[in-house]
């Protein structure tokens, strides 16, 4: 998908920058790192590859001093070190760019950076340094802007510049591309190569095989907390790396063409919605149709109106009545419960705390939305029926758990997602809306969930998927639209588009074609 650029820095040599020897970290229920060793040379771009839950993030936290290993040692430039906390790691020259950014929304860029940089507290002087470093590495930033007004891509720049100001010898990036457009990924890679050529070592954590092949010199592969192999990505194929990563072939989904009757189920016309939230995105003139028997995907980076669109579609925030139609009924003014009564089901991106109540049992969580399946009479609940429903859900959707009495929070991300998806599907919906169906879910469960969605659509259900993962959308969707800056592009059949074109639309450029206005790049374009 992306072209491989030649490596323009010398091969690593000399004393290792970082060596991890036999690192072990145990948690009450799991061994997150089991005898993990790896070596990073100066100027080397080293990938740590593994699927969700393989222990990559824990390992990085150990290096950054945020977590302390139970056993093993860390060698830094040839000397054994004990890294007590992140400040100590930074003092050594270790910088980290977090997957979920560690920025403060109500503070400005330079204030955010000042919190990490020691020395005299002099914001104007620091702002100058931010400017000069950000220009040197092609990461333009306005130090005075408040972080909540920045796009996700710009926020990542703040994190990177914050690390660079401390002249790091090792830069850790945790899944840095999950929030970037393909174009922005290319720019990031340029910056990383420039840094490596200056001798900075880079630890690059990802589960995206093609990116690792393009960028990294070496790779350490992890599975279930253990190292399962060291590799030179350029000499491997995606399939061979995938085998190391998950221990078997990558599962593939099968989608038969839909043969039933195709009729519009969800119709959105001119959906415009201002926002009450000072950090929110208003929606502007959204048009969308989802027919029975198809999966429509909405690509785009979170924060571009995804939360607002989902709230308007699910009914959590009612809108003008005829902006949203379900079948032949205008439902815009209805609340979530009324829309559910008409056959809408919804799987939100936050599983714990929204899709499920963490402290309640699976039986109680079945009741959350499925109570309308004959579990309530005269306002009184039949808990037996709820338990029976939960038990069927657990069996049919292969949920690994102690049983219907287990608390929702005791389930792994993938299993809880299977339970929630199952609970919604078992309500025989006409329309299913799913947000980020496989976030933080392991490869096996992801494949299962994707196949489940395809199968559901082929039974004549209309399915709308909102996801940041382009590959996922191309795998399961029939048509794909892009949400950027609160506007939605036309949904086009996936055969007529590709990642490159979708990426351009994510930058907001499609606004030219949709409304004839000037490009809505603004604060939401990750450039």
């Amino acid at each position: 998908m992306l072209t491989t650029a030649p490596l323009d820095h010398p091969p690593p040599a000399g004393e290792p920058r970082l060596q991890l020897l036999h690192i072990t970290k145990r948690y009450p229920s799991v061994v997150a790192n089991d005898d993990v060793s790896l070596t990073v040379m100066p100027g080397e771009i080293h990938a740590v590859l593994g699927e969700n839950g393989a222990g990559k993030s824990t390992l990085m936290k150990v290096i950054y001093g945020a977590v302390h290993a139970d056993a093993g040692e860390i060698m830094w430039n040839g000397r054994q070190v004990h890294i007590a906390n992140p400040a100590a790691a930074r003092a050594l020259g270790i910088g980290m760019v977090f997957q979920h950014f560690s920025l403060f929304e109500t503070l400005s860029v330079v204030e955010n950076i000042a919190l990490v940089i020691g020395g005299k507290f002099d914001l104007p002087a620091l702002a100058e340094r931010v400017k000069s470093v950000s220009e040197k590495y092609g990461l333009p930033l306005d130090p005075g802007r408040l972080v909540h007004s920045l796009s996700v891509g710009e926020r990542q720049r703040v994190e990177i510049v914050r690390c660079l100001l401390q002249n790091p010898q090792l830069l850790i990036l945790d899944e840095p591309t999950s929030v970037l457009t393909p174009q922005a990924v290319r720019k990031l890679f340029e910056t990383l190569r420039q840094l490596a050529s200056e001798g900075v070592s880079i630890l690059y954590i990802s589960h995206k095989l093609h990116e690792i092949q393009e960028l990294c010199d070496t790779a350490t592969v992890m599975r279930g907390g253990k190292v399962t192999g060291h590799a030179t990505p350029r000499n491997e194929t995606p399939a061979s790396m995938a085998r190391m990563m998950i221990g078997r072939e990558l599962p593939v989904c099968h989608a038969e063409p839909y043969t039933g009757v195709s009729a519009p189920v969800l119709q959105v016309r001119g959906l415009t919605q201002p926002t009450d939230d000072p950090f929110g995105t208003p929606l502007e003139g959204i048009d969308l149709t989802v027919n029975s028997g198809e999966i429509v995907g909405i690509a785009g980076i979170s924060g571009n109106g995804q939360a607002e669109l989902l709230a308007a579609l699910s009914g959590e925030v009612p809108v003008t009545n005829d902006m949203v139609r379900l079948g032949d009924k205008a439902v815009g003014a209805m609340n979530a419960a009324q829309r559910r009564d008409l056959g809408l089901v919804f799987v939100p991106e936050e599983r714990l705390g929204r899709g499920a109540v963490p402290s309640l049992s699976l039986t109680d969580n079945a009741l959350l939305t499925a109570h309308r399946q004959g579990m309530v009479k005269n306002g009184l609940v039949n808990y037996g029926a709820a338990k029976e429903f939960a038990t069927r859900d657990i069996a049919r959707f292969d949920v690994r758990t102690g049983g219907a009495a287990s608390a929702a929070r005791s389930l792994s991300g993938g299993n809880l997602q299977k339970f929630i998806v199952g609970r919604e599907i078992m309500q025989t919906p006409k329309l299913m809306i799913v947000a980020q169906p496989t976030w933080g879910v392991d490869v096996g469960a992801s494949a299962f969930l994707r196949q489940t969605l395809i199968d559901l659509s082929r039974q004549g259900v209309a399915v709308l998927v909102i996801s940041e993962e382009l590959e996922e959308l191309f795998e399961i969707c029939d048509r794909i639209a892009v949400l950027a800056g609160g506007k939605l592009s036309e949904a086009v059949p996936k055969q007529q588009t590709d990642a490159e074109a979708i990426g351009l639309k994510m930058s907001g450029l499609f606004a030219d074609h949709v409304s004839g206005q000037s490009a809505q790049g603004g604060s939401h374009a990750p450039a």
Partner: protein, 368 residues
């Protein structure tokens, strides 16, 4: 400082052991206190917990004091489950007393047998209105109910104080701030001669049964719990948070109002400035100690009533300040909250870092 780590599943044992543990810890610290005050702790506990109950009169007083606590706490517990903190039940109790007492004054001299039922209804209404006001302010104007309910409690007490020393003052009361004594038809009848316990206890009993059924079986109670545990999940499921606010605040106001009228139409028999020894506040503790559970609240209410009686006894027999009751109440709640941490968390196991030093470790100074 990071002593705790989360449990995978909340501990069912700790959920119910925690109140017992809190009582034990309170007794322990209480003994230390008694020793410090040069009183024999065993003697003190006998005065506190045994003496009040060695007569029929004592048991009657226990039930008499427990009844309003239990009644108010039932209503509060519904709100607390939804994380709606009505801490002004004292004010709603007073408003119930004012409304109900006002009706009693209206019926003055009529001898009508409708007086008491009308008073009970008016009391419920007064409390419910005083609870609904913060609900309106919360749903319409987003104003925090913790502060508004409490402020309104102060307003209610000043209102009462004005009424009994102004327009409703008993002309023959030697200028004391109080109304006339209510007629017998405006009072709950006594259950036995010489005891102050009266028929208002049946209101509490009925309420316990109703609240038990409601929390165990109704979808609304489930929706309220979800709203408290995970507000986003409640929105997702389509459970209206405004409805929960209205319901919880109005209902808890109503039960407090009933408790208020039960007091003034019961043991007190008139409106004056001392219609409640802080039942509205103590009921907050009762609700928590009782695990927000309708039956648990009954036990907690009896315990708290015993603390009140014990405090009175201690004042007489041990010359201890009556405020010791408030001290015990506060300690009990403190210890309960502390013990409750171990429902969701457990002590972190001590781990030793096994580092084999091959080269001297570099000490790294914290930069921040």
């Amino acid at each position: 400082m990071h002593l705790l780590e989360p449990r995978a599943n909340p501990s069912v044992i700790m959920r119910w052991a925690s109140p017992a543990l809190a009582v034990l810890l309170t007794l322990f610290v209480g003994s230390l206190l008694f020793i410090a005050l040069k009183k024999d702790p065993l003697e003190a506990f006998r005065v506190f917990f045994i003496d009040p109950l060695n007569s029929a009169y004592g048991w009657s007083e226990l039930l008499l004091k427990a009844s309003p606590l239990i009644l108010i706490a039932q209503g509060l517990a519904i709100g607390f489950k939804a994380r709606i903190y009505n801490i002004g039940a004292e004010g709603q109790l007073i408003m119930g007393a004012i409304f109900g007492g006002g009706v009693a004054l209206l019926f003055e001299g009529t001898g009508s047998s409708f007086a008491l039922p009308a008073m009970v209804l008016a009391g419920a209404l007064g409390g419910a209105l005083w609870g609904a006001l913060p609900a309106l302010l919360k749903t319409r104007f987003n104003a925090e109910e913790t502060l508004t309910t409490l402020m309104l409690a102060y307003v209610a007490s000043f209102l009462l104080s004005w009424l009994v020393s102004g327009p409703w003052k008993d002309p023959g009361g030697m200028n004391f701030p109080q109304t006339v004594m209510f007629a017998a038809t405006s009072q709950f009848s006594m259950l036995a001669d010489g005891l102050r316990i009266n028929t208002s206890i049946f209101i509490t009993l009925a309420a316990v049964a109703a609240f038990y059924l409601f929390t165990k079986k109704s979808l609304l109670a489930y929706a309220i719990t979800v709203g408290g545990e995970a507000p986003a999940a409640a929105r997702y499921a389509g459970f209206s948070s405004k409805r929960t606010v209205w319901f919880a605040l109005t209902l808890s106001g109503l039960t407090a109002g009933l408790a208020g009228i039960a007091e003034v139409a019961g043991p007190i028999g008139q409106l004056n400035l001392n219609i409640s020894p802080g039942y509205g506040y103590a009921a907050i503790i009762v609700a928590w100690i009782g695990r927000l559970h309708p039956v648990g609240i009954v036990g907690a209410g009896l315990l708290m009533a015993l603390l009140y009686l014990g405090g009175e006894q201690a004042q007489l027999a041990l010359q201890l300040p009556a405020a010791i009751t408030g001290l015990f109440q506060g300690m009990l709640l403190f210890f309960l909250l502390g013990c409750d941490a171990f429902i969701d968390y457990r002590l972190r196991r001590r781990k030793r870092r096994a580092v084999v030093a091959t080269k001297p470790a570099v000490p790294v100074q914290e930069a921040a």
